[in-house]
Symmetry: C2
Subunit: 420 residues, 2 copies
Amino acid sequence: MKEVVLGLLGLGNIGGGVWDLIREFGGETAKRTGVQLRVKKALVLDKRIHGGKEVPDEVLTTDRNDILEDPEIQIVCEFLGGEQPAAAWMLRALENGKSVVTANKMALSLHFDELRAMAKKTGAGLYYEASVGGAIPIINAIQSPLISNRIEQIMGIVNGTTNYILTRMAAEGAEYADVLKDAQRLGLAEPNPTADVEGFDAQYKLSILGSIGFHTRLHVDDVYREGITRINSEDISFGREMGYVLKLLAIGKDNGDSVEARVHPAFLPADHPLARVDGSLNAVYLYGHSFKDMMLEGRGAGDTPTASAIVGDIIQAAQNAVHPMPYMQETPKPVADDWHSKYFIRMKAKDAPGVLAEVTGKLAAESISVSAMMQKGAAPDGKATLIFITHRASEKAVQRAVKSLNPEICQVENVIRVEG
Amino acid sequence: MKEVVLGLLGLGNIGGGVWDLIREFGGETAKRTGVQLRVKKALVLDKRIHGGKEVPDEVLTTDRNDILEDPEIQIVCEFLGGEQPAAAWMLRALENGKSVVTANKMALSLHFDELRAMAKKTGAGLYYEASVGGAIPIINAIQSPLISNRIEQIMGIVNGTTNYILTRMAAEGAEYADVLKDAQRLGLAEPNPTADVEGFDAQYKLSILGSIGFHTRLHVDDVYREGITRINSEDISFGREMGYVLKLLAIGKDNGDSVEARVHPAFLPADHPLARVDGSLNAVYLYGHSFKDMMLEGRGAGDTPTASAIVGDIIQAAQNAVHPMPYMQETPKPVADDWHSKYFIRMKAKDAPGVLAEVTGKLAAESISVSAMMQKGAAPDGKATLIFITHRASEKAVQRAVKSLNPEICQVENVIRVEG
């Protein structure tokens, strides 16, 4: 039996969940792996307040150096969240030869290069399974069992809050603002929901998935981002009539010479595997040249699923002779500033025949053809709603065409990409 | 860069797929992992016939000892299929300290104890990701990222042939025998389909998944097995009317003191994640005490998905300091000979009122209550079809109740478990 000594930076929801899982299941885990985990120190802001866990007093500390500078501590688990001081402290732990396990997508995404370089330099491990998709072993899958693949596509539902909101909007025909309020009341959305609903959370996660999956450095700013705040119940119900389900997707594609990386609401055909991932579940769909299509689905958040991923990482950090460290090409692949998709265009207009000529004309001028059109009876203002679905077209061309439409003839209310 | 020398026992579909993946993608894999793979020898029956791959003559051999006894070969990949000589040769490779990578569920399931013991003795690794679920990293997930979990439930669609047949029966309202014939014509079912359609293939796979997931030794004979040959289009269509989808499931449950293990056709609610896994896709649903619910879905067969899993295993065998070896309790958990489920009972009868009294009476005598009943108009023989769905009940009680029904009043045509 090999004892491995841990230090926990933080003992809140996630840190407390890890503490519990080690305390309750550490004996069984040791039998299975030969690794006995011992938490030597846990950093808290105040020794009197630490989430109600029964943690012996000598384990608690308010001094990070009791963890970062203690040579007996082999693995440091970071549960602080946010960019700093998390990134600086992880860097210090790695510098001191300690492996680091983190769930912190922000600090990792922003400081991946330094952290990776330091880990390489000192031979320490850097593990972050819980940073994307919670308990879903997506990082491990990409870096180990699926390593001998050219991953061509990554498409994920990686934010549970927005998936919960969109699922309820679809089920109840409810509006965004109402569902958001209710989700906040239930604790399923933050009081300040921006990071989730504007897609920042998914943007960090895609930067991590894309970096390791495409073996290039995909910075967070390389990822196009659009949230769900402009989606209304009409978009969802009209999409459904046309056979589509709306999801906030994180989409990465390796086109060979360049990569695409974008987070935005998108319609999926109702029979796409991701279309049925509802509520706060997360899922990642992958396409690799050898394994073909695959989807991993599970709990993307929550203290026990996150703890499952973290303890899994700790055991690997303790056992691995070679820590998995993504190989990234020296010259990162350029990130495409245009891409191809189908488009759902919703607009209001008074006179349908005139609109048809205007829309099809302006789209044709950008070489975009229409695959379906649907008209909905006039609203109280005398205007009808028109939905166009295009064939595959260039994003830029569609944006240009939409901008060129005469606002006296039709008013575009939303443009949503159709994927899958 | 570390060179790792391989020997391939077999160069058919799977062996050839591995050869191709290493030849075409080995350079990139080496950059990512630091492991350069070299196939030194590949065993063939006849040097002139080896699947049309361009394999240098000096790599081909017809003598297994050129692989099993060559001290330079570090990892042996077994692609022979069947129980023997595959098991004996894998054992010999392990005895010689070589790690073994296999896709052979039969040899593994039947000889898991000896192979595992020999691997432990010599410190060699035993890897078998491709033996269950093809490219899906289910073995890896259970043994590594999800290791710190009490896995309570495993429910899998692990046989692509039967899933393809059931999917087509459902989509087309077609009968089993017709779809089977067509699947055979298309090469999606074997000329002798018994191993697939009678559930033997799934039985081997569940014995492996259950053994590693529940940390007990689940022998193939411990797994109850029933195939899909008695399913007809009426079962599928009546089930659908009641909101169910029919799948051949491999079900394992850890009930604490005992385990359940069974392969049989089962109805799932249409919104269960496994219900939408169609065609030849495979998927495994897991429930763990910490990660909660999870599903992994992908290609369960085919040369390139299988090669993806095998090369993933080879890299792990080359890199791991500690080979994952399932811990199994010294006293295996008893396998339950009864279990609880809901039941779909389809029968024919002439006189519905008399049938209702007979069926509900006989079920009540076994403490089984009915949750739904559906009657379908009389067939040309003047008999009506009746479907009963029970509440959760003991398997044995249901079997006794069904046997006790008076065949002059009603004739039971099928009993199908309802899970999920």
